[in-house]
């Protein structure tokens, strides 16, 4: 039998396959053809109103013909979606009628470089150079004046707009957020926005991350590598993917990073607009990572980073050496697992930041939305995905700040279980003083008996390690008053035997340690104490 005949009779291609539709797109890559490869790296022929030329690595990129940088714009719509109107698209506001994104005219439109006249190309290069200069100046100086790059961008955009083709309206009537920027590695489709320094996610300003002291973060992360880290150079990373596995066939189609420049958080999202063109964005990411002091993620240790590492291998791009990696999921879990059943990012957002997302794209929908775009060229709800990712990145910074803030000093208003969680983290990190503070706050916080008991035992442990017998005894006796639990008796037995050298009391506690210690061990203890008691009495008698 011929294969074709057999294939024709196969009903389905199995899991993952879709019923073939009659209207399969005839030109699968109608959108976003990489057509500037021939034009000396400058996307000259790619006349899109919103495109800005720049090296893409810099904070100064401008989107949509407008610079949504601190102070540089009038409207408050600098946050992806979220608080303002639902229709707000991350990636800045595009002037009505300005073409953007992918639909550069399809077949009929003059999209190729060949038609461009040399004078115009020279002009574009000149503008690009000046833009680069401006931007790098902005980076080296304190801060680029917002008007600078924006002006350059406007000028450039105006130059380009003159030959902008009519955009093709996608079926959903929605457009692709962001724009393509050219980078030394090739074109990358990027969505970028800058948050104002006072921008808050929920009730927490994102800049709170800048206030986190590195030793505190090192304790929080249980990773000494963070002790000397300059957190102002942290890179926040979050990806959106086509699947849940980290195997070779899963793509990180949206790689979002966020980093501070001074007080402003810059959110940059690299969107894979065409399958197989990942290398430039991976290289861009590598450059970002190399420049960063550390990486901050949520579940990135077991998901995002392994997946990205796979993408580097698949695309034969050298993966950057990963600087210290702070996985906030692990931190949050350590602190909050007692109190919260779930410590997903959105749970933390709600609990710590008081932020509740509205109209958020659910994680389960994301692969489908992207694959719809890949197959049809219709961005559909990709803007929602970009927004979702943007929220995640901003939340990362705010959560880091808030986690550190609550760890810095005991806050009476927090739940005693949280204090206990922090006390445990501090204990594990070897920060005895902080552990003691949080433990006593947890014990005194009016939580349930178990919480109090655990806090007191922890306090006793810490006191023992710092050889503070008084404090240890105090904590244990308070614990005993809370509940005469065998493990409290056991600790008291040890205290009186070894530190107080008081076999009488030790023995009385040792009688009731079951089942906190194994039978044989208890027997040995009792025997030993009986012996000590005898000697003790002998010593006492002459007196």
């Amino acid at each position: 039998m011929k294969l074709g005949r057999k294939l024709a009779r196969l009903g389905s291609a199995g899991p993952g396959s879709r019923a073939p539709s009659a209207a399969q797109p005839a030109e699968p890559e109608a959108c976003l053809r990489d057509d500037d490869a021939s034009s000396a790296g400058a996307p000259g022929g790619d006349a899109r109103g919103g495109d800005v030329l720049g090296d893409g690595m810099l904070g100064g990129d401008v989107l949509g013909g407008r610079a949504p940088r601190p102070g540089g714009h009038s409207s408050g719509g600098d946050v992806p979606g979220g608080h303002s109107s639902g229709g707000d698209v991350p990636g800045g506001d595009v002037p009505e009628g300005a073409p953007r994104g992918c639909h550069d005219g399809g077949a009929g439109a003059p999209s190729g470089a060949p038609g461009i006249d040399p004078a115009r190309r020279a002009r574009i290069r000149r503008l690009q150079r000046s833009l680069d200069a401006l931007v790098s100046k902005g980076r080296s100086e304190m801060r680029a004046r917002p008007s600078g790059p924006a002006d350059a961008g406007d000028a450039l955009a105006a130059a380009l707009r003159s030959s902008a083709p009519t955009p093709r309206i996608p079926p959903s009537g929605r457009s692709l957020p962001g724009a393509r920027v050219s980078t030394p590695y090739g074109p990358v489709h990027q969505v970028e926005h800058w948050l104002e320094p006072h921008h808050a996610h929920g009730v927490v300003p994102v800049t709170s991350a800048l206030e986190a002291e590195s030793p505190l973060v090192a304790s929080l992360a249980l990773d000494p590598a963070f002790r000397e880290i300059d957190l102002s150079r942290a890179l926040f990373i979050d990806t959106e993917t086509t699947g849940l596995s980290t195997a070779a066939g899963t793509l990180a189609f949206l790689v979002g990073v966020a980093f501070f420049e001074d007080e402003s958080l810059c959110v940059q999202q690299y969107l894979l607009t065409e399958l197989g063109r990942e290398a430039p964005m991976l290289q861009l990411l590598a450059e970002r990572i190399r420049a960063a002091s550390c990486v901050v993620s949520y579940n990135g240790k077991s998901f995002d980073w392994p997946l990205l590492r796979a993408r580097y291998v698949m695309n034969r791009v050298a993966a950057p050496p990963l600087p210290p990696h702070l996985d906030l999921l692990h931190c949050a879990r350590r602190v909050f697992k007692k109190r919260l059943d779930s410590v997903r990012l959105v749970d933390m957002e709600r609990e710590l930041l008081g932020f509740v997302r509205e109209h958020d794209v659910s994680g389960a929908e994301i692969p489908g939305i992207y694959l719809h775009f890949v197959r049809s060229g219709d961005p559909g709800r990709l803007d929602g995905v970009v927004e979702h990712n943007g929220h995640d990145l901003i939340a990362l910074a705010a959560i880091l700040g808030e986690l550190a803030k609550r760890f810095r000093d005991v806050r009476r208003e927090d739940d005693p279980l949280d204090h206990l969680g922090y006390a445990k983290v501090a204990e594990r990190a070897g920060d005895a003083e902080r552990a003691a503070r949080f433990a006593s706050a947890a014990a005194a916080g009016g939580g349930d008996e178990e919480c109090t008991l655990e806090a007191l035992l922890l306090a006793a442990r810490v006191a023992r390690r710092s050889k503070d017998v008084e404090a240890e005894e105090r904590a244990l006796l308070t614990a005993l008053g809370t509940r005469a639990a065998p493990r409290v008796h056991l600790e008291l037995a040890k205290l009186y035997e070894h530190r107080r050298k008081d076999p009488v009391r030790a023995l009385s506690h040792a009688m009731t340690t079951c089942p906190a210690e194994a039978l044989e061990e208890r027997e040995r203890r009792l025997k030993r104490l009986a012996g000590r008691l005898a000697r003790h009495n002998v010593r006492k008698r002459p007196r």
């Binding site: 291609a13 199995g14 993952g16 070779a248 692969p367």
Partner: protein
């Protein structure tokens, strides 16, 4: 095949951990092997012996250990007492050095593992980063080999570890496996679902992959083999992506076509090492056919009891004996009988007789093997677990209770007997089953006939498509890429199909070439089981424990998991209480019935396209064909069959949707005119002739399955006849004028697995063999061993000629006389 290398090479002196020398020889009993044989001759056992054949001894052919071998490797060999290599081992080393892929297909216990271990050790000694991948068909085999290999590496002074990577490997060991271990032992399923999709994490492993060993290559046939061939295609792609092109080494038990089979699996030419340089002693082979106890039904004395009796004689005489049963149940029964029989004999307590079967933990296996070597165990009763290369050393006698189904399998079992050059005995006790009786009737085939060939079809469309999905997931396809030896046009056709179904998405690559990317959120390998076709398996849930006890493919579900069916699993019986067809779940409960059920299926075959046609050159030419067919089957009911007596004790209805399958079929047509004239001449009704054809089909089915080395269940059979009210459409005939009675034999794997084309090629031999088989059967009018018992169709007063005679006369009429 010897996992631990029961015969590492030509050796003198004691063997180490690598070998299996018995430290304490069993007390040679009063009589020993020769004594038992003499006793059997005296007592008339030989009256029922259908074959008594002695294979002559074969001297060793050796070659010196090459001077160039690294010192450490030489020392490892010396430590194992290997002072010379067998000729085939020396040749294997040469081929490995030349980077040429080869397959070793020498008999059991001829030192096959050294054939691949030696070149690999040498490579590892020269290249510290080199890696090798060993694949075994089961987890147990890999774990068995791991220890032996570790010891070998240690003795050769090589720092490369060996580690088993399968579903049971813990997390930190997995990391070691990925990053450091020189030799990775695994199974095809793990490679398919656990390694290849994650190849980016194995970049170092793949980049340095020098050798891939496929042991027990003969087990990869049919569906499993077709899957494996595709896994190999994927493996090669991934290795190439990481810059490696490993040498492949296969090791196979004796099969008819080791080279062709290996080439089909590997998709590249291979050298075949089929001649063993290992010595063997004289091997006597007996086929014992228990006497008939019920002439009418063709029932013979119990083969299990007979096997037990013969084994007991051997064990009592001090002959270490290995008994093979066909099922776990059979093994348990024989174990009990043997212990009962031998209890009270000195040194033959219960602990001296042991069972050995799949499902034992490695530790238990090691303990049994050690006791066998030390002589504490005198007799082992095993399922075919031992066939898969577990090292228990060698014994003096092997008794097979029941024909293992293939000549190759039989010789593999017999190969377990024979300690180096000493004489050995292999006894096959045949059951009443058709195949067994065929062997008993023509026992000479055991010695003369070529052993079976292994068949696979890597291009089976359903299997291929699933693996292309996995492959696309692992690495996008680029225009011009190859997928093993699949023709480029076919590959692009298949990718087009996957594109059409939204599984892959084509884009223009950097250099203008088309690139097909994976474009769904599924993880395709999870949906593909290498042991079955398709992806829509049913799970079987035990209602008492709420545990999933097994999975079954959709097709088998209809016949085996319909409601009220008795499902047999691990020697337990379960009744299906509810079949949730929508959600692919069958709920069962353990029962102890005195019957089992068989489904009654109505099958209709329709020819879609005839690929080849021919005419059998007989007096009355018969048309045969090969082509693509639709098989529609519907389970209409079931029968309850009583255990042991096989009485029919009841019926039930089944209501399940019909199943449709496209596959390949072989067909043989008897012209209506011939049937009519034959009926007239014989004075029987037409229906009687059709019934005789049905008997002929049954016999052909058994022989075809035997010749193809497949489970008879893999081969479907049906007779289409115009007078059948539900008749389909015959080959090349219009429905209007009806069609001639046609016998179909088809592949029961969707898409076909290459069985029907083989039947077509050997159609004449098959027909002649069928005739010989029917004629040679001792029964009067047809029995389960030939054309089925003469009770099938109720035709009062219609049959003046017995069914069997009718079949034979019909064959005479078409001019197919008995050949010998």
């Amino acid at each position: 095949m010897s996992a631990g290398g029961s015969t590492g090479g030509s050796r003198r002196g004691p063997r180490g951990a690598f070998g299996g020398a018995r430290r304490k020889p069993w007390a040679s009993g009063a009589r020993g092997l020769q004594g038992v044989l003499a006793e059997w001759e005296r007592s008339g056992v030989f009256r029922n012996v259908a074959l008594d054949h002695t294979a002559p001894p074969r001297p060793a052919k050796t070659a010196p250990i090459p001077e160039a071998l690294p010192e450490g490797v030489r020392q490892a060999l010396t430590a194992k007492g290997v002072e010379e290599l067998y000729a085939h081992q020396a040749r294997a080393l040469e081929l490995g050095r030349a980077g040429r892929s080869f397959v070793v297909a020498t008999p059991t216990a001829s030192g096959k593992s050294l054939c691949y271990n030696l070149p690999i050790l040498e490579t590892l000694a020269a290249e510290p980063d080199a890696r090798a991948l060993y694949l075994f068909p089961t987890k147990a085999l890999a774990r068995d080999q791991e220890e032996a290999l570790k010891a070998l590496l240690r003795e050769a002074g090589l720092p490369h570890g060996a580690i088993t990577f399968d579903g049971d490997t813990p997390g930190d060991a997995r990391r070691v496996a990925k990053e450091r271990s020189g030799v990775l032992l695994s199974n095809p399923d793990m490679l398919h679902a656990g390694i290849l999709p994650h190849h980016t994490g194995w970049a170092r492993f793949f980049a340095n992959l020098r050798y891939v060993v496929l042991d027990e290559l003969h087990t990869y046939r049919g569906v499993f083999g077709s899957h494996l061939a595709n896994v190999v295609r994927r493996l090669k792609r991934i290795a190439a992506f990481h810059g490696a092109s490993p040498t492949f080494v296969g090791a196979s038990a004796t099969i008819g076509n080791p080279g062709e089979h290996a080439e089909r699996i590997l998709g590249e030419p291979v050298e075949v090492l089929a001649e063993s340089g290992a010595p063997t002693g004289p091997r006597r082979v007996l086929v014992y056919n228990p006497p008939v106890v019920n002439e009418d039904l063709g029932i013979r004395a119990s083969y299990l009891k007979t096997a037990v009796r013969l084994t007991a004689d051997l064990v009592k005489a001090g002959v270490p004996t290995l008994v093979f049963g066909q099922s776990r149940n059979g093994v348990e029964v024989m174990l009990k009988y043997l212990r009962d029989r031998l209890r009270g004999e000195p040194g033959l307590g219960d602990e001296a007789i042991h069972a050995y079967r799949g499902g034992y933990l490695p530790k238990q296996r090691r303990a049994i093997e050690a006791s066998l070597r030390s002589g504490d165990i005198r007799c082992v009763v095993a399922t075919n677990a031992l066939e898969l290369g577990i090292d228990i050393g060698s014994l003096d006698a092997v008794v097979c209770a029941g024909y293992p189904g293939t000549l190759a399998g039989t010789w593999q079992r017999f190969g377990r007997a024979g300690r180096r050059e000493s004489p050995s005995l292999g006894v096959l006790v045949t059951s009443s089953a058709p195949l067994d009786q065929y062997v008993a009737r023509e026992p000479g085939r055991l010695v003369d006939a070529p052993v079976e060939e292994a068949r696979i079809d890597p291009d089976n469309v359903e299997i291929l498509v699933q693996h292309l999905k996995c492959a696309a997931f692992e690495l996008p396809f680029e225009e011009g890429d190859r997928f093993g030896d699949l023709p480029v046009e076919s590959l692009e056709e298949a990718l087009g199909f996957l594109t059409h179904h939204g599984v892959v998405h084509p884009t223009a690559g950097a250099d203008g070439r088309q690139v097909w990317h994976w474009a769904t959120d599924a993880y395709p390998a999870n949906g593909v089981s290498l042991r079955s076709v398709g992806w829509d398996n049913f799970v079987i849930i035990d209602l008492d424990t709420d545990q999933t006890i097994a999975e079954m493919d959709w097709r088998s579900t209809h016949t085996m998991l319909h409601e009220q069916a008795i499902y047999q699993h691990a020697a337990e019986q379960y009744q299906v209480e509810r079949l949730d067809y929508e959600n692919h779940k069958a709920y069962v409960r353990r029962v102890k019935p005195d019957y089992y059920t068989t489904a009654m299926t109505h099958t209709k075959v329709t020819v879609l396209e005839e690929d080849q046609g021919a005419v059998l050159p007989l007096q009355k030419p018969l048309a045969v064909g090969l082509g693509e067919v639709t098989v529609v089957s519907k389970v209409v009911g079931y029968k309850k069959i009583k255990f042991h007596t096989h009485e029919n004790v009841g019926y039930g209805d089944v209501h399940l949707p019909e199943m449709q399958m496209h596959t390949t079929a072989f067909w043989l047509t008897f012209p209506e005119a011939l049937i009519q004239s034959f009926a007239l001449r014989e004075g029987v009704q037409r229906a009687a002739v059709v019934d005789a054809l049905r008997g002929l089909l049954d016999a052909m089915h058994v022989l075809a399955a035997m010749g193809l080395m497949v489970d008879p269940r893999d081969l479907g059979k049906t007779l289409e006849d115009q007078q059948d009210p539900a008749a389909g459409r015959g080959p090349g005939a219009e429905a209007a004028r009806g069609f001639d009675a046609t016998l179909f034999l088809y592949d029961r794997v969707p898409g076909g697995i290459g069985l029907a084309p083989r039947i077509f090629d050997e159609r004449e031999a098959l027909l002649r063999r069928t005739r010989a088989s029917i004629q040679g059967c001792d029964c009067g009018s047809g029995c389960p061993a030939c054309i089925g018992p003469d009770v099938g169709v109720d035709m009062e007063g219609m049959r003046s000629v017995p069914r069997k005679a009718l079949v034979l006369r019909l064959l005479d009429a078409v001019g197919l006389p008995q050949v010998h």
